[in-house]
Symmetry: C2
Subunit: 349 residues, 2 copies
Amino acid sequence: MNVTIKDVASLANVAPSTVSRVIADSPRISEATKQKVKQAMEQLGYHPNLNARNLASQSTQAIGLVMPSSKDVGFQNPFFPTVLQGISEGAQEKNYALHMTTGKSEEEILHAVVQMVQGKRVDGIVLLSSKVEDQVISYLIERSFPFVLIGKPYKDIEEITHVDNDNIRAMKEATAYLIGLGHKQIGFIGGSLELIVTSDRQDGYKKALAEAGIEARSEYIIHQKFLREGGQQAVRELMQLEHPPTALVVADDFMALGVLNTLDELGIRVPDDISIVGFNNVLLAEMSRPPLTSVDINIFELGYQASKNLIQMIENSNEPTKRLIISHRLVERLSCSQPSVEKSDKSND
Amino acid sequence: MNVTIKDVASLANVAPSTVSRVIADSPRISEATKQKVKQAMEQLGYHPNLNARNLASQSTQAIGLVMPSSKDVGFQNPFFPTVLQGISEGAQEKNYALHMTTGKSEEEILHAVVQMVQGKRVDGIVLLSSKVEDQVISYLIERSFPFVLIGKPYKDIEEITHVDNDNIRAMKEATAYLIGLGHKQIGFIGGSLELIVTSDRQDGYKKALAEAGIEARSEYIIHQKFLREGGQQAVRELMQLEHPPTALVVADDFMALGVLNTLDELGIRVPDDISIVGFNNVLLAEMSRPPLTSVDINIFELGYQASKNLIQMIENSNEPTKRLIISHRLVERLSCSQPSVEKSDKSND
DNA sequence: TTGTACGCGTTATCAA
DNA sequence: TTGATAACGCGTACAA
């Protein structure tokens, strides 16, 4: 059998409750017994049974993490491990453990979440992305269970603590950067519009055009759900327009890599023939050819702040709802240049 | 307060133990009461408290996962999310939860593992890679706690259930493939030799050369710890040798991508001037330029078998120690060709 | 087939 | 400052 608090107690000649107090580092306990107990613990190699502790204290020191559905391509995106790293770091600092969950369908995921919550396996939950109708969010709100969302909620913004970038502004700046270089024909390539992050970035793109007095053309906007096949075709069509864009903003570096390859196959050179700005600034961005100018959104920090603030909510029940905006910055590399004369409407000197 | 087994019992007019039996789907319970109880559970929205259950049953339905140290570059490697996906899938199928741990140092990690094990948070552990002197492994063996290792143990091979590829053979085949194309000057680029996987692959490389009667040249072998700066320099030096290699085997696709870029900067064309075979066949391999011929090691399966077999060990205490070898296969893409005449020792027709 | 009673290892309350 | 003692919610031998 395992060594319990009782064993320690009898070895140290004190009551179990005293040992418990020593573990909790209670202030009202004599230094003498404290040492005595600690030594006994050491000697026996004692470690508290967390299940018993959780049961008695009605709290686990753990946070739950809902991962993207395992079929999801998002899993392959370098975004995921990085944000996980951040979450993990924030948890570790406060001595919280991490409990993960996935599922192949919406139902499976919801079920797993309910299990975690009602089963009292975790004290709070970090959510990775919200969808338009999110059952998990509804469920958590209804039970008023602590959670923080990484990304922007589709609704109930005021009631959901979330950590996000200012994606509208970020994409606006990225687009403005291209406009500043002299581009006027700028395309947008993003993922599914069901993701809030996509629509935000698209909004930013449109805003930048509007402010510069450039008319948005619907044929310049592409949504590709998949990274490869579908995307390639879309890019091809885009470049076969009568007036193809001289620059592209792509809402994700991973996608941008696919775009880069398709362009290469078409014999279109970057940045000579077309400029590209990526998004997220994952490690890949600097390893691509040419190295990708990309908007760094501080992925690690996104995760770190999420778990850190979640723990604050857990430990202080009247912590206010927060909206945390993580900073971004454009990292210039070699995928952008001024538009070539032949393709722009008027020449630059 | 939360709804407990007692509430269900009183609503259904039975004893708590009966409810417990219904949950466990005990065979010796009348269908009538079973229905009655189930309905009561439904009506109250009952969910068992897992901490109480774990405490009473002395087992959690959870497996622990030790992730690479958070500072580790390995985190950025697409290998990680994929293997995680596999582990997660294997766990989910058996209704096991996943509990994660990281740490910034060896000590932190060991501490976290001890916490998981002694704290009885998990029933078993999946380890991602072993190092030469691995405290975690020693600890788990000493306590004879169920665990399975993904990769090859440095020692105690017979006593550690592990799931791995036959990396020696896989790399031997990859090298032989290049030899078959006519290459004789073949370089090897791998990570730190402290990782068993690196030394295995290097062994395979040497074996292939030996079998073909080609002398191994030490200046053709490179170990780069980091993906970028260090690696670039190494590749440069390699290509400036009097007789530079006409082909390279690279022990990791992610590294191969860096190599590809360095070669591009040097104006060396792939596969015209030099052929490259990568390893792991991550999504990246098909998105690189040129698409990378790579050895698919079935990363998902590695993770899936790991958790699946771990659960077998947990549920059947005299499950034998196993060594599971996951198959591999060379995926041909466009990064290899026959050596060009000027650089090979004799011409091909 | 079902109920009673105890144990799982802690924490927390109340006395001392 | 410390010690009994009662929860915490569930599983399970044992009894009925």
